[in-house]
């Protein structure tokens, strides 16, 4: 879809909502239809058809994130059964690269959004806190790709990370203090000073150079 084509109202709305260009939307729409098998919505099972995804150790977490109401900005918790193309785009827009002309405030907001996505992935019970249990879960999955790292060591790593988080966020604790979990503010604190520019961005291609796999 070039500039010569007139944009439909629908697409224009999506552009303003998600920040994708109309070409990118077109591209993603094609992919969406491919995934859904021509249906207007995607269900979890549809993601299972992507062979490349199979090797991803945190696949279930990522797919989960696509249906997470918090990410879809629909509800503070719960899961959607199916998502339509707009939802799909919203999730994708978390990974849009930073525009070069953004000001400080926008950058900060953008960064926050992206981190929130990750936070939601960790915080599986939507209580606004990553508890040790949740953290361990993620770490176990994250490291499950390496057959040489057992569950035990994954756990101790998660524990270590949790300690670190606690020491960063709370500092010196009173002996009777309990660190219940990483809140989003703590999470932001941990990310302070770390560039996520390259870490959380996918360059969505404009052109048709996308390999139409499978």
């Amino acid at each position: 879809m070039g500039s010569a084509h007139s944009m439909s109202e629908e697409v224009r709305e999506l552009v303003s909502k998600t920040g994708f260009s109309s070409e990118q939307i077109e591209q993603l729409h094609r992919r969406f239809k491919q995934l859904s098998g021509g249906q207007p919505t995607i269900r979890k099972e549809n993601f299972n058809n992507i062979p490349d995804l199979e090797l991803n150790p945190i696949r279930s977490k990522i797919i989960h994130a696509f249906f997470d109401n918090r990410n879809l900005r629909k509800a503070p918790n719960g899961l959607a059964d199916e998502i339509n193309f707009e939802d799909f785009l919203i999730i994708m827009s978390y990974f849009r690269p930073i525009e070069p002309n953004m000001d400080e405030e926008q950058l900060e907001r953008c960064r926050k959004e992206k981190l929130r996505f990750l936070f939601h992935m960790y915080d599986s019970d939507s209580d606004g806190r990553i508890t040790l249990e949740e953290y361990r879960n993620v770490v176990e999955e994250l490291l499950s790709g390496n057959p040489h790292i057992g569950k035990e060591s994954a756990r101790s790593i998660a524990d270590g990370a949790m300690m670190e988080a606690a020491s960063i966020c709370v500092g010196q604790m009173q002996p009777d203090q309990v660190y219940e979990g990483i809140t989003f503010d703590d999470f932001l604190k941990m990310w302070q000073g770390i560039d996520i520019e390259t870490k959380m961005h996918v360059r969505f291609l404009n052109m048709d150079a996308i390999a139409l796999c499978h």
């Binding site: 990522i62 992935m121 060591s153 101790s156 270590g160 219940e180 961005h201 969505f204």
Partner: protein, 840 residues
């Protein structure tokens, strides 16, 4: 090395007294001053006790002396921090070279020592490039590979073509006067002056500390443009010798083809040798001592091989380093790895030093100087201007595709960082004077360009970077969370690319790492290494070690580890078990001290336990403790010589052991207190209740205890467990895992022995032990300035109950983890405050 030394070559025979003059003679000899033959030498007197055979050792001697001079110069430079922080070392070395060259010339009136291309390309360049490749941050490098390649290939061609053509254009206008140069000569000159030099870039940028991306782009470009330089140089060189009129279109096509052959071939050679190297190191388990040698030899072979096949040698050795680093680092032992690291750095920085010094020395030779102001000035102007233009054009193109945009500031630094160096010089010296008529002009221009870029730009780039506020690289401590999140991001991104159906950077990386894990690592890594090579695990390990080391360091700061070892609670004896460094103390003294200490300790122990009237057992325990923790002074150890085995220094061993014991102590006491709690608090499993109790107890003066340290060392234990899979118990492994396994072995062993005491003495209940805690330990008195976290650490191994409490450990299953599961990490502080404690 091809140092040409002029001077007499006859042998001098000295009687013994002649040696006295040796020192006086040496200097002029080395500087090439003519000797008066026969001076001071007597007639042959038959058998000579000492003969002076200068000629015999001349060449290596001079080489060694030059290296010594260069190294000493480095020391001198660094005596003044002020100078080195402003002036880059490379510039200082060049100036030094100029001065030395001046001295030599003044003495000899001929340039005796020059940097010859052979020496440079065969001996000085490879270590530097290997070092660059072997320590290349791979992820960063491959992440920016596209950008680097564009700059390296298109940028270099652009620089060469524009510089050469512009010079030719100016030449036609007649400003340069009458030179016998054709278009091809200009292009040849352009091609050799165009390439940014890896040695110079590295030397200057290492001191500037710009951000990683900027650094990798400039540096990567300087490494990868070698193929372009080599090809352009060879092509134009052959064109020049062919003659301008005989060059056909076919030759041009051949030139382009040869570029691909040279660059891809060089890369391929590098990869093949990297594969070989990784494979070899997989099997070097039993020849640890020569293990580091393989790294150097095989990479050097890759360089020579591609040189032999006239491929890009720099590319070959770079990629050899890049590709093998992961597997080699995993395969070789930690000591070998350190050896490789230091040797490589030493060779590289030594070679760099020599290169710059000899660049200076080489310049002092009137024979090569042909001055042509217009030519030289215009070359300087053109290379700077075209570099800037090239960078801006390419960046404009790249920024359309790059995720992280290259700002204008970055572009300025990139343009300004285009330093020329020894590669250009070596290439220009290689030119054949018969074919290239104005070789001397080219040589002098190159020298001027190199000096200008290294000295002037090197001097000014630092202020420039500061003035422009270029993002600096920041060195951060590795954080576990950061690594974990980073890993999560990687997976998310590749998943997003999968889902959105594009083949992007993350997609490729993901596929590659899968392939690497499934095939390459299995093939190229030892099985034991495969296990521990996860990045996250490494960071985890590192952090734990750091923690532990700081713990021990705290002990050292206080003068001893006694605070860990001493089972006594009385503040009189914070006994210094570990005497000052044994080397400084007479053996007898330390022996005496040891005796003293043991009695004191015994007494304290006895004193403390007297009321319990189980002194015998206590003595046994004490003796046992003493045996464990007292170390003989170093003098008592025999040093065995073995060429094939590096017996680890006893002192080192001792330190290590202390460290292990300390760690073990911490773990044990931690675990045991934990267990103790569990026994006494069987009913109180609930969080809130426990918290309530703690609050009640919290008036005990144990200060603020950060929850961090204990659990980390607790996890440390788990980590070690992980390392000690049966497969690993091989003796070699056990020795080299730098103590990881030894540590574990200690733990299990000692637990077994110690715990018997525990069983034998059921009298000591946990309650009694813990009552000790209620006393205010000496280090908690207000004048102590220990940081709280250290206090917490100090307290952990603090009780003699270590031994007695071990029983429950043995009884408990190994899944200590369940405690952590039940109680959150802040469990630890609680263990200090058992219910039985009362406010004193």
């Amino acid at each position: 090395m091809a140092f040409r030394v002029r001077g007499t070559t006859q042998e001098f025979r000295f009687p013994v007294w002649g040696l006295l003059f040796l020192a006086l003679w040496m200097l002029p000899r080395v500087l090439g001053v003519e000797e008066i033959p026969g001076h001071n030498s007597h007639e042959n007197q038959g058998f000579q006790i000492v003969t002076f055979k200068w000629h015999h050792v001349q060449d290596p001697y001079i080489i060694a002396l030059w290296i010594l001079v260069a190294s000493l110069a480095k020391i001198v430079f660094h005596l003044s921090h002020k100078v080195t922080s402003v002036v880059p070392e490379s510039a200082l070395l060049i100036v030094l070279g100029l001065i030395l060259g001046g001295i030599v010339w003044a003495a000899d009136h001929i340039a005796s020592f020059t940097l010859t291309p052979t020496v440079f390309f065969f001996y000085l360049l490879p270590p530097i490039v290997l070092d660059a490749g072997y320590f290349m941050p791979n992820r960063l490098f491959f992440g920016n590979l596209g950008t680097i390649l564009l700059y390296a290939v298109i940028g270099t061609v652009w620089n060469a073509a524009t510089t050469g053509l512009s010079l030719y254009g100016v030449y036609l206008s007649g400003i340069m006067g009458d030179l016998s140069i054709g278009l091809l000569d200009f292009l040849l000159f352009g091609s050799l002056i165009a390439a940014v030099d890896p040695v110079a870039v590295l030397a200057v940028f290492e001191e500037v500390h710009v951000n990683d991306v900027l650094f990798i782009i400039v540096f990567g470009e300087s490494l990868l443009n070698d193929a372009v330089t080599v090809v352009l140089y060879n092509v134009f060189d052959s064109f020049v010798s062919l003659g301008a009129d005989k060059v056909t279109g076919v030759d041009c096509v051949k030139g382009i083809v040869s570029f691909f052959v040279v660059s891809l071939g060089g890369t391929l050679i590098g990869i093949i040798f990297a594969f070989l190297l990784s494979l070899v190191t997989r099997f070097t388990k039993h020849v640890r001592i020569i293990e580091p040698g393989f790294v150097f030899i095989i990479s050097y072979l890759s360089y020579l091989t591609s040189e032999m096949l006239s491929l890009s040698a720099i590319l070959a050795i770079t990629f050899c380093g890049i590709c093998c680093q992961k597997y080699v680092k995993a395969n070789i032992s930690e000591q070998s790895s350190t050896t490789v690291r230091y040797t490589m750095k030493m060779l590289a920085s030594g070679a760099e030093t020599i290169i710059f010094m000899f660049l200076g020395i080489s310049a002092v030779d009137p024979a090569i100087w042909t001055w042509n102001t217009a030519f030289i000035l215009l070359t300087l102007v053109f290379i700077s201007v075209y570099r800037a233009i090239g960078v801006v054009l390419q960046t404009w193109l790249l920024n359309k595709y790059r995720m992280v945009q290259l700002e204008i500031i970055d572009q300025v630094v990139m343009s300004y960082g285009g330093l020329r160096g020894a590669v250009a010089y070596a290439l220009v010296v290689l030119l054949d004077e018969k074919k290239v008529k104005e070789k001397n002009l080219f040589v002098s221009t190159t020298i001027i360009v190199v000096f200008f870029t290294v000295i002037f730009q090197g001097l000014t780039i630092k202020p420039l970077v500061q003035w422009l506020k270029v993002k600096k690289s920041e060195h951060r401590e590795p954080k576990l969370n950061e690594k974990l999140h980073g890993r999560a991001f990687d997976h998310i991104l590749s998943a997003i690319e999968d889902i959105s159906g594009q083949i992007g950077h993350n997609y490729l990386r993901d596929k590659w790492s899968n392939f690497d894990r499934k095939v390459l690592s299995k093939l190229l890594m030892r099985r034991s290494a495969q296990k521990s090579r996860d990045r996250i695990l490494n960071v985890f390990h590192e952090l734990n070690l750091k923690d532990a080391i700081s713990y021990v360091a705290e002990g050292e700061r206080r003068g001893s580890l006694a605070f860990i070892r001493s089972p006594s609670t009385d503040n009189i004896v914070n006994v210094d078990f570990s005497t000052p460094r044994p080397s400084t103390v007479e053996a007898s003294v330390s022996y005496l001290l040891r005796e003293n200490v043991s009695t004191v300790c015994l007494d304290m122990q006895a004193l403390e336990q007297r009321r319990k009237s189980i002194r015998d057992t206590e003595d046994t325990v004490t003796h046992h403790t003493l045996q464990q923790y007292l170390y003989k002074p170093r003098q008592e150890y025999k040093h065995l010589y073995s060429r094939h085995e590096l017996t680890s220094n006893e002192d080192e061993k001792q330190d290590k052991e202390i460290f292990h014991r300390t760690m073990r102590k911490r773990l044990e006491s931690f675990k045991s207190t934990k267990l103790g709690i569990n026994q006494t608090k069987k009913t109180a499993k609930l969080y809130k209740r426990e918290r309530g109790q703690k609050r009640r107890n919290s008036s005990i003066p144990n200060g603020k205890i950060p929850m961090e340290s204990p659990t980390r060392d607790f996890t440390f234990k788990e980590k070690e467990l992980e390392f000690s899979d049966p497969e690993e118990t091989n003796e070699y492994e056990a020795e080299e895992m730098s103590g990881g396994i030894e540590f574990l072995a200690n733990v299990t062993q000692d637990t077994a022995t110690d715990s018997t005491t525990g069983i034998d003495n059921p009298v000591f209940s946990t309650e009694e032990d813990q009552s000790i805690f209620t006393k205010v330990p000496p280090w908690l008195s207000p004048e102590e300035t220990v940081v709280p976290s250290q206090r917490a650490r100090v307290q952990i191994p603090y009780s003699p109950s270590n031994f007695r409490r071990l029983t429950p450990i043995r009884l408990s299953t190994k899944s200590v983890d369940s405690f952590l599961l039940a109680d959150s990490p802040e469990e630890r502080p609680r263990s200090f405050l058992p219910e039985s404690t009362h406010i004193p």
